[in-house]
Symmetry: C2
Subunit: 200 residues, 2 copies
DNA sequence: TGGTTCGTGATACGACCGTACCATCAACTT
DNA sequence: AAGTTGATGGTACGGTCGTATCACGAACCA
């Protein structure tokens, strides 16, 4: 046999090629041949490491959410040690706004997957579909802690406000994506919403 | 010639068939043949009234936004004569939440178009892409009037709060669509946000 | 009344895309 | 050394989809 190859690594390379293509041509326009060309391998190789296109797409989605998790973690580290609840919440919400190329790709491809998932049950069954629930629980807990530490204005409802924050940042992200809004103004809106929750 | 036919009417029928198909199979899965079958006409007819698929899609988008406008108008009428600013804002925001089949289709197809528009300049140039700006201006003006009439809490910023309301309802709409949230809980979140703006 | 034109159907064409198949070469084993 | 097996390339097949072509019938005009 030729040089034994690390399948996991190869699959990652191909998945990232998929995300690059999806990021600037749109997920709907992704062809197996495009992915192969972008990854610099032959079409046969893409077939070899992912038998079918559907499996490639599912793996690409996994990889996408994984990299998003890493980006959130990086922002949390950048927030210093023992960051306050507001700093943690900002890290999470700002990571999901399409401010740079990577997060733009994430948001576009994630939205594409979400749209597909509405009518595709194989996609709808994927775990990424339930990760928002985890984020909601996490944010709710953070707000509850902030409330107990008396860092919030009166009248805060951790669960309801967590839901609103997530929906708001998702909506803002989409409007950045389609060019209705600049990242800066979206951040300002988000900060304003946080000001309504956290006391100075 | 055979019985002279009303082109506009026929185009509308076909466009509605398009929206029905897009509404439950997804816009990406819409084929010319599906639209023809759904409309109960031959493939040739769809070609006849819309030369190309792209033109059909563009017209479908026009029709979609038009019908959305009618739905908002209907809600406004249902709000009674001389409704207050909050009632008007509620009419606008609640109309865009996917609460029934029609609004669900609207939200799904509209989102599909938005995703396509990110990478398709012909779609991006369509007027629907600037209608959110009009909505933002409208909401801003309503909030400003409410503020002058002393109906709001202090600290309201009409422009910023209008942006937040629109992004929030868009985000909530998407989470209803993908099944993360019930329409009822989304409405509750939206009402809560309005409570933070309008005085009792 | 005859011809022109609008509306409609059936079908064919050409392109593209995912997948399958076949061949080849290199390295590790025995 | 020989054979087996993993990795890779090239290419062909089958299906599908948008679009084009051909044909025909029915109404309106002159």
């Amino acid at each position: 046999m030729p040089k034994r190859v690390d399948h996991a690594e190869r699959r990652t390379e191909i998945a990232e090629a998929l995300l690059r293509v999806a990021g600037h041509r749109g997920l709907h326009a992704v062809r197996m041949r495009d992915v192969a060309a972008e990854a610099g391998v032959s079409l046969r190789l893409v077939q070899y490491y992912f038998e079918t296109k559907e499996k490639l797409l599912l793996y690409g989605l996994e990889h996408l959410t994984e990299r998003f998790g890493e980006r959130v973690a990086a922002r949390l580290r950048a927030a210093g040690d023992a960051p306050g609840p507001r700093a943690v919440i900002e890290a999470i919400l700002l990571a999901s706004l399409p401010t740079d190329e990577a997060s733009r790709t994430f948001h576009l491809v994630h939205t594409s997957y979400a749209v597909l998932a509405v009518t595709d049950e194989a996609l709808a069954a994927q775990p990424f579909i339930r990760s928002p629930e985890a984020a909601e629980n996490h944010l709710t807990e953070l707000l509850r802690q902030a409330q107990e530490a008396d860092l919030t204005h009166p009248g805060v409802d951790p669960r309801q406000d967590a839901i609103a924050l997530l929906a708001l940042s998702a909506g803002l992200g989409t409007s950045i994506l389609v060019g209705h809004r600049t990242p800066e103004s979206a951040v300002a809106v988000l900060e304003r919403q946080l000001d309504g929750i956290f006391a100075a």
